[in-house]
Symmetry: D2
């Protein structure tokens, strides 16, 4: 159960204390207070855990200072989209808004390999009006003998170059809590030229200690990718580990599921779950067409499968796309075979724009149809 307080009821006010006193007297109920600080208004939510079935919703709503009470199911307490739940979706970070209504492309290098490649990539992004990118420093690889990314050594030049070309947000995978500190330090050292979205990869979706760490910091937003081998429900429960620690600036990422039923694609593309995640939660949804497909195969029309599945995600309402480019795919140290070339960047963006326009037409059509029926 969530008790949402009126906007003017701040911590320490008499109403606030009265409400907590009331709740403290209820048996078998623990409370956890969350303060959502927004640009326009802030809101205090009190999460009640335990024997909430015994509580009277109307009674609590009658206490001064309480705006509304939302009864929630056990699952997805924090990120879930509950019944009679009209709270807004999304968040803003470093001047960029992420929510269930818009779309951002994060084209970039799977792994930051050399400053030259990074600069070529970033320059191309600026030329085509992009403010976001992906560029990994820490790369978890199946084999310990494969290239693992440059780690913290590359962070300063990655951030400086990003700033130079006007990038606002870099999606960057982390695999250990120490990486958060390393990223924060490198950003400070370089004068905060850009922002970072911390990405948790599919191998760490249920690395709960890491999830709690990223959840406890409030500086960086988080992109949590779906775990392979677990159900969607279990991946959404993993999101709760982040959110219940306080940070709710979370984007949920679909990246295909590992099973040979998806062959010849590298993973079984799961973008039909875009509308499902938007229905079950209030998170923006990201798709990763590059890792899902894993090759540069194309259909008889001459269109790459990577483009096809990106279009599939977008026409169903995806809000973010992670996509691998490389100035010289043959030289890429990680996942070269699936990378798009810089020449393909404007083509990809235009292809995505077609799918996005179609999505918006479909959304308008849905409103027309619903209003008529």
């Amino acid at each position: 159960m969530i008790v949402i307080l009126q906007a003017d009821v701040t911590e320490g006010s008499p109403e606030y204390r009265q409400i907590l006193d009331y709740l403290a007297n209820k048996p078998n109920i623990a409370t956890r207070v969350h303060r959502e600080v927004g640009t326009i208004r802030s809101v205090t939510e009190i999460y009640l855990i335990g024997d909430t079935m015994a509580l009277d919703k109307a009674e609590i709503e009658s206490i001064p200072g309480v705006e509304r009470v939302v009864r929630i199911s056990e699952d997805y307490r924090v990120v879930g989209r509950h019944h009679d739940d009209t709270r807004p979706t999304g968040f803003e970070y470093n001047g960029v808004r992420f929510d269930q209504d818009n779309l951002h492309v994060f084209a970039g290098l799977c792994a930051a390999d050399t400053p030259e490649h990074a600069e070529k990539m970033l320059r191309a992004l600026r030329e085509h009006g992009q403010a976001c990118t992906r560029m990994g420093a820490y790369k978890p690889r199946t084999s310990p003998y494969a290239f693992q990314g440059h780690g913290k050594r590359c962070l300063p030049w990655v951030f400086e170059l990003a700033g130079k070309y006007g990038i606002k947000v870099i999606a960057m995978e982390i695999t250990h809590d120490s990486h958060i500190d390393e990223i924060r330090a490198a950003l400070e050292q370089t004068g905060r030229p850009t922002g970072v979205m911390l990405q948790i990869g599919t191998r760490n979706t249920q690395n709960f200690e890491l999830l709690k760490c990223v959840g406890r910091q409030s500086e960086f937003p988080i992109l949590l990718k779906r775990g392979f081998g677990i159900t969607l429900e279990e991946s959404l429960n993993a999101v709760e580990y982040v959110a219940s620690e306080g940070n709710r600036k979370i984007v949920f990422g679909l990246r295909g599921m590992k099973t040979n039923m998806g062959d010849p694609h590298r993973n079984f593309v799961d973008f039909a779950h875009v509308p499902v995640v938007k229905r079950l939660t209030r998170m923006p949804v990201c798709i990763d067409p590059s890792h899902s497909v894993g090759s540069r195969e194309r259909s008889p029309e001459g269109i790459l499968d990577v483009f096809h599945v990106a279009a599939q995600g977008v026409i169903a309402g995806a809000n973010m796309i992670l996509v691998d480019f490389h100035p010289a795919p043959a030289k890429a140290l990680v996942d070269g075979p699936q990378a798009l070339t810089l020449e393909e960047l404007p083509y990809f963006l235009e292809d995505v724009a077609i799918a996005r326009a179609a999505y918006e037409q479909r959304r308008a059509l849905a409103r027309r149809f619903v209003s008529k029926n």
Copy 2:
């Protein structure tokens, strides 16, 4: 290896005999002749099976009457899209053309239950300009105690009603070779008011005896659905059972894969394989959004998941859509919960049209980009 003869080389001509004589002298080579009769031109193809590596492509091409020789890989000999293979895709049936370039919607009843429901459905289709439908007489059900369809008893009234409302092709699942005879008999009895596409369902994808039966007849085209629990490659090999018997009027159907990784959808939607099947074979590709999703859940935009995944298939180039409607879903004997209502028919068609227009824009863009690069 396929030896494609010149158009004017007919069975019994001297060139024809010379070519077969030449091949008969080659050791360990069996031949199978296939004649593809088209409206504009017909073509004779001789399939060589056995030790074809030992044959000299250039030598065969130099024999009078031979137009071209295509070396094929072991897999998908007949339906495959081979290297240097520019043969056209698709076929025409009862005045309707099916190929990898166009799109047909087969909206209809999952199972023909009553003449009243069928008539309402068919009238709605005519009102919205549709010439195809789905309407099942034979329904394989997981439990033997569930409704199994009306079988041959309903065929006469289904066909008559279809004819009355101008339907050219009904997709209809069959589960036994005797059903082909029953359908043929009922069509003759009612004066051939419509046409039938024989559908092989996912439970029978590797029922090779049934595949051979439908392959041996040339009257009806075939919709072969992908099998669950087997790889795409294995399903495409199943198509060969049909095609190698002679009938190549085959559409390949995607309908989702059974695995709990697809939850909460009934099946894991596999429409990312639309471009893959078009690349590997020359078959038109059908999608079945109703059975893939299996519910009437909708995203926060108010759009049903069934619509979303249909749009995903279409924007990637799907050529046919099987979709369940029902005038009174609550009364449907099979799969009512996923059925769309007749009021939703024009809305669905308009939503599909948006996705199709986007696909066509994407196709044009690909041509522009390729010509530029």
Copy 3:
């Protein structure tokens, strides 16, 4: 609901008619009578389908001639093991008893290829006291261009050789209902020298028309293999298609599930389901170690994986083993790489005997422990 009649209540007796009259008067109840003819006693069971919740169990049990009434859940009506259900398991065929308590090895050729190979195989079986074998005439293969078995041509010599070496039961896959007639004809032609257990393979587990055909005949027992890509529950529902047509001489076969999670084995070995099938149904359970493993790899102890998984099935109570042998594996037309050699036959039988003895010790231990607690 099953109404089990007293042993002396035969069809046509006054009690019999009275019971059926009583049931005929109940609304929305259909009846289906099944007569189980045993060597010691026979039993008549009346299956009630429909609105059985409204019936009074005690009232029916009070009708003269009724021995007992068993309320059954919707699933597995016929083959299921219901609450308060102490009916015996299994059946006898051609002098061999199949039930949940004993064990039969069906060693043999995956496919009958030549009379010489078959004779060597059968002679070895007789030498080691075996009365059962496997030997396929109809082989469904993923590719239509692979060897499909000799079909009905080989039946006469297979049956004659089997009879010559004292084989009582041959497990033989069929893929079409016409194969039943072919087998019956060949048996009659050769003077019934042996018996046949009709095997339905994993590709046809949900070929319901074929299941109904084998269910309608009562001459041959049936081995139904689990389907890949479907849940155990769905495979058990498929058994009902057979049983509800009348034939209940059914063995259920486990043969591994297709998924790359089972690599490097050909299939994911599922013999942990042996006790599950025995708990949910009254069928004997067969395991197929050869097709599950699909190779001759061995562990560091020098024991083949095929032996290991066979032992795993047997120590958990398996009742039948299908296992591939071949006098010359390198020459086998089907599945040679996994075949055991004739020299390995006594070794395999001894290895199985060790596992079976361990199972029997475990069963005795369970009885001791339960009686103590």
Copy 4:
């Protein structure tokens, strides 16, 4: 490529330096020295990484001080069982030997909940001669709102009680590198009354940072569980992350794979992979029947499925069993439904002993058969 030095060639000796000099002159070859300290003898291995194909095995073997050179495939460099590789398996820890030939049962509490429960458990273990147990302090749970274990608070009383009852090794899951320090500190604080095997659970199989941490310490052995959703090959590659950091005291754990194909079991039991892991690597193999099955269902013989699958693992050569017991399953905070009771402990041990004796008979039989053939 691994260069194994003669036993008397120690670091700093002239032969040692000569060998390293020789290797240093080879282009594109990096070396990593590993010293395996055993009770009887120690061995120095030099791992060569890079362009090893260009090296001459015979030439290196002719250098003084080199005992043998093993060419290894790319995969499983450290833990793999390579061609002509007769190195011993396993290791000793706190007086207990773990290798591919013996068997240890780790019965215990899934989670240490109260000192009373722990003491009852441990007393029962001593009564039945057990020197190992499982008892978790850190429990990763799908939902953040579920009980997560007592963490470091419970370590002192767990260790003291273990020491009091003569337990030598406790298997204990860790989910963060800081847990290693907490365990080490608590062991020191309590005077090292027992030993700990660090368990990495299935959610962290590809948490490479954690793997590297446990690999860098040499005090505690490691039990690495197979990851769900990834292939066996990928899980074995994860082991390399541990081993390549130096610690090779690793047991590999099978615990079932998550897929609904395993229903009604909680996971799809994968113990057919016991011989596979023993063939591919030199690690002892552990099975976890409790988490695989996840219930107390039993077969008609009255034997619990947990017992059945444990017997299946053991008869195929498993070396370690993790199994959940609880003095009062209904009060267990984690996984109570699958726990065995203390009354069942002697019964379980006797059932396992039957399966182990059968395994040993099978091993002897294999030796007999091989010597004969």
